[in-house]
């Protein structure tokens, strides 16, 4: 006979209680920032204009409106084409960066990142200068027009290229040199090595890159807005429904339709990534490419070409912003940078952006890092930590436009005690932090997993409160990751359009939104000028980060030296 032994009830120390309270607060904050707005959006789709529950009626009317349904097909089409173009391009570029001997590798790598620092509007504007009705290369199109699917795809390729390149560079950089040596010893042909070793090794990276690009295109709003012409996509539909027709319920429905593919892509990616972990071995030997003239020449030329295209688009936007009256008076001027002439907010919208980006960087970094730490290090409390983990991952699957819409419904509800946040800088910061939460959370979690797991055990044995060890040891050690998160948030807050387009008030208008408005009003040059200011700001911040990383850090972190 066996008696059931009562399971031990473990007492909680002050540290445990404090950390659990922290996890609870974090769960609450994430619920407000992510969970409840999405819930509000979901609910809105089942209501009519007066807020009465009408079941699936909105969805039925959506799928029976051919024009709306066509947008969904258009979105899928653009996303597929862009993915098919970007992924091979990015693969070759990443291959060149990691597997060949490239002169000035760092420069090519840097150029490939440029689009990240620009609002998605920028490539659209540059294309208008090049191929628009007044474009000086318009002849190249024959009788065609850049407004529509062609323009969207070209601009999307520019916009998505760095994201795919980053993922594939990481995937190709983690190759195991021993596999190649083995293949070499066995006398395998180069072609076969590529198809049996290189490609399978990068398989998960390729899948991930494809999914990321697909989602980016599906959910981006700026490009289709600027250069889409009459070619409607889901993202522009949401905007038109909400801003144009004030039809919030239908906007919510389109938002849910937009959410589906993004969420699906995210799920597939998580499943794929889980498999990959098993593939990496700790004993892998990093591959160092050896010079080979023909190959290196080919890839250098290829990288030159791609870099030239990126620089051309950026250069065109800059040039366009400096021109007096395109295409009639090509003399240079700074008039277009006098934003007060084009938008009542003038330069204020730029300073709003900077303030918002700083706010998001500070608030977001503190929340993400402390949150990741709480969730990693709290003993027990599994269910609540699971909730936090879920809420932290959710934003990755949610398009900015959809989250922004959810914010309207949730925060603007008259009975919401948080209603006071509506139309303030606070809601913009909150929304931006929520939108970019997952990457920051993951960065912090990865950094925390890399440090010794026993620091908390040691401090408990020494009777030092756990928060003291967090402040004195854990956070200082993770400083590089913390700065990475802050810079990531700053840059994204500067460039984001989609998540904040519904949330600004007249006095909190952001530069990226102002650029959309100015462009809508027909002043391409001023919109380009605003985009250029944004690029310069975020690139400067990133450059300052790199410099600080190199020089300041070496001094602050003597302890890393052996």
């Amino acid at each position: 006979m066996s008696l059931a032994v009562p399971s031990l009830k473990v007492g909680l120390s002050r540290d445990d209680l404090m950390m659990r309270a922290g996890v609870l607060v974090l769960a609450g904050v994430l619920l407000v920032m992510v969970g409840l707005p999405l819930w509000a959006l979901l609910a809105k789709g089942f209501e009519d204009r007066d807020g009465k529950f009408i079941g699936l009626a909105n969805y039925i009317s959506y799928f029976s409106t051919p024009a709306l349904f066509q947008s969904a097909l258009n979105s899928l089409q653009v996303a597929s084409i862009t993915t098919v173009i970007v992924v091979p391009l990015a693969f070759l570029y990443a291959y060149a960066l990691t597997r060949t001997v490239l002169p000035m590798r760092w420069l090519f790598q840097g150029i490939s990142l440029i689009p990240i620092f620009a609002p998605s509007l920028l490539p659209g504007l540059a294309l208008i200068y090049l191929f628009g009705t007044q474009g000086f290369l318009k002849v190249l199109l024959g009788g065609g027009s850049i407004y529509g699917i062609d323009g969207i795809v070209i601009a999307q390729v520019f916009y998505c290229f760095p994201h795919a390149t980053l993922i594939l560079t990481t995937a190709l950089a983690t190759a195991d040199a021993r596999l190649y040596e083995a293949a070499d010893v066995l006398g395998t042909s180069k072609r076969r090595v590529f198809f049996t070793v290189t490609l399978p090794g990068a398989k998960y990276g390729l899948i991930s890159a494809a999914l990321v690009v697909f989602t980016l295109v599906m959910t981006d709003f700026g490009i289709a807005k600027v250069i889409g012409g009459n070619f409607n996509v889901l993202a522009t539909d949401v905007y038109k429904k909400v801003i144009g027709q004030q039809d919030f319920s239908m906007g919510a429905v389109v938002g849910m339709v937009l959410l589906a593919p993004a969420a699906l892509a995210f799920l597939v990616d998580r499943l794929v990534q889980r498999k990959q972990v098993a593939l990496l071995t700790a004993r892998a030997v990093p591959l160092v490419p050896r010079p080979k003239f023909a190959r290196d020449l080919f890839f250098t030329l290829f990288c030159l070409l791609v870099s030239a295209a990126i620089l051309a688009i950026l250069g065109m936007a800059i040039w366009g912003s400096l021109i007096k009256y395109w295409p009639y008076n090509l003399s240079l001027t700074l008039d277009n940078y006098d934003f007060a002439k084009f938008d009542s907010n003038g330069w204020d919208s730029y300073w709003n952006s900077v303030r918002m980006a700083l706010g998001a960087a500070v608030f977001g970094t503190v929340l993400m890092f402390t949150g990741a730490w709480l969730n990693e290090k709290t003993r027990g409390f599994g269910a609540m930590r699971g909730v936090v983990q879920l809420l932290a991952f959710l934003p990755m699957a949610v398009p900015g436009l959809v989250l922004g819409l959810g914010y309207i419904f949730f925060f603007n509800a008259p009975n919401n005690p948080l209603n006071f946040l509506y139309a303030t800088m606070g809601i913009l910061v909150l929304n931006t932090v929520a939108h970019f939460y997952t990457v920051g959370h993951l960065t912090a979690t990865t950094a925390l997993k890399q440090i010794d797991p026993e620091f908390e055990a040691v401090s408990a044995s020494l009777k030092v409160p756990v928060w003291k060890t967090f402040a004195r040891v854990t956070a200082p050690i993770c400083l590089p990751a913390i700065l990475d998160i802050a810079i990531y948030l700053f840059v994204n807050a500067m460039t984001t359009v989609s998540s904040v387009i519904f949330l600004y008030a007249p006095d909190t208008k952001l530069a990226s939104v102002a650029a959309v408005n100015i462009e809508e009003a027909g002043t391409t040059a001023a919109a380009a000028a605003l985009c250029v200011v944004i690029v310069l700001t975020s690139a400067a911040v990133k450059a300052a980060h790199l410099v600080a990383d190199r020089f300041l850090f070496a001094r602050l972190q003597v302890w890393r030296r052996r």
């Binding site: 007492g11 120390s13 055990a457 040691v458 408990a460 044995s461 009777k463 040891v473 890393r560």
Partner: protein, 355 residues
């Protein structure tokens, strides 16, 4: 002698897997105890349960008469050194060692004095201003030890503290840690899977296997009188000869009867293993009437340094093989070589019988 630590019926489950099953153990004040066992047997699990870091599923732990079973680690009294040392890399050695002192509202001078004293104690008087990354593995180990001892805990827990070090440093540190422990008189539990480490350092060894304790005893007891076949096999080398128990004090192997110590727990007719350590096999000056005499032939001779390990085949039954340790003197004196025929004896008081 009072029990400093009393572990009663401790069990630990990870889901369906039972990592510890009903473990009970007493540790006397001031004692140095080693948990010894193969990888995955639950040594770390038991140590972490004692510390409260990964609480047991059921069972009780009393420390100095106080029931600490359900207390979080911060409310227990112990210092701990991990295999990774877990030194804080961004703090100097002095700050690491003083980490637990700063919290006790002592003044700076007192802390600095205590830190200097601890660093001198572990033989690193000048390491204070350095960072951990600038120290060798052995030095880091000592800093971790000094940090764990700084608050004068009643119990010192060490999880494989030497396993990351190279052989020479390990040997030296064994003696240093043992000497330090003896001077301070701090009750110490060390986890190791290195039997030599356990035999040289421990006052008592706890041999574990598959989540259970196989035997607890002094190094001599464990080595001389292993309680189970597992202990006999795991600690030191042992010959296992398959046989049958004929009478309480007789085992038959390949048709030959051997005298052995009286076996109470085993029934005659049972299949057993007759065991003897290689160094206990007698060859020299065998009296004519010696019991358990076996005529053998040398089949292999492996040079191991200080001695040779010989594989001996019984001349009457070639399938019965015994390894024996022969000193270089013996080999020279008796002219032992492969193929040499000689007689050996298995002294009954050195024989062990396991079911």
């Amino acid at each position: 002698m009072t029990n400093y630590l009393e572990v009663r019926n401790l069990s630990k489950r990870f889901g369906d897997f039972s990592a510890l099953g009903d473990v009970s153990l007493d540790v006397v004040e001031g004692e140095f105890v080693c948990f010894l066992g193969p990888s995955g047997c639950g040594k770390t699990t038991l140590l972490r349960a004692i510390a409260g870091l990964d609480p047991q599923t059921s069972g009780t732990i009393r420390q100095k008469g106080r029931d600490v079973s359900a207390l979080p680690p911060a409310q227990r009294d112990f210092g701990i050194v991990f295999q990774s040392y877990a030194l804080f890399p961004n703090l100097t050695v002095a700050d690491n060692v003083g980490y637990g002192l700063v919290n006790r509202r002592q003044n700076r001078g007192a802390i600095a004095r205590r830190v200097a004293e601890l660093l001198a104690m572990v033989g690193l008087p000048d390491a204070g201003p350095k960072y951990p990354a600038q120290l060798s593995g052995g030095q880091q180990q000592r800093v971790a030890l000094a940090r764990a001892l700084a608050t004068s805990p009643g119990l010192l827990l060490l999880d494989e503290p030497l396993s990351a070090l190279d052989a020479r440093v390990r040997l030296r540190l064994r003696h240093e840690i043992k000497a330090l422990q003896r001077t301070l008189g701090v009750t110490t539990i060390m986890v190791t899977h290195d039997q030599e480490e356990a035999l040289t350092m421990a006052d008592r060894i706890v041999v574990m296997n598959q989540g259970a304790i196989e035997q607890v005893g002094t190094p001599q007891e464990i080595y001389r009188r292993p309680a189970t076949a597992f202990v006999a096999d795991f600690v030191g080398s042992m010959n296992f000869l398959a046989g049958t128990l004929m009478a309480p004090d007789r085992v038959r192997v390949a048709g030959v009867d051997f005298a052995c110590p009286v076996q109470d727990g085993l029934a005659p007719g049972q299949k057993v293993s007759l065991c003897i350590r290689p160094e206990d096999v007698r060859v020299r000056d065998l009296p004519a009437d010696i019991v358990n005499r076996v005529p053998v032939e040398v089949a292999e001779l492996d040079f191991v340094g200080a001695f040779c390990r010989a594989t001996l085949k019984a001349r009457a039954a070639a399938e019965v093989a015994v390894t024996a340790d022969f000193s270089s003197n013996l080999i020279r004196d008796l002219g032992v070589d492969i193929g040499t025929k000689l007689d050996i004896a298995l002294p009954p008081d050195r024989l062990r019988v396991f079911a």
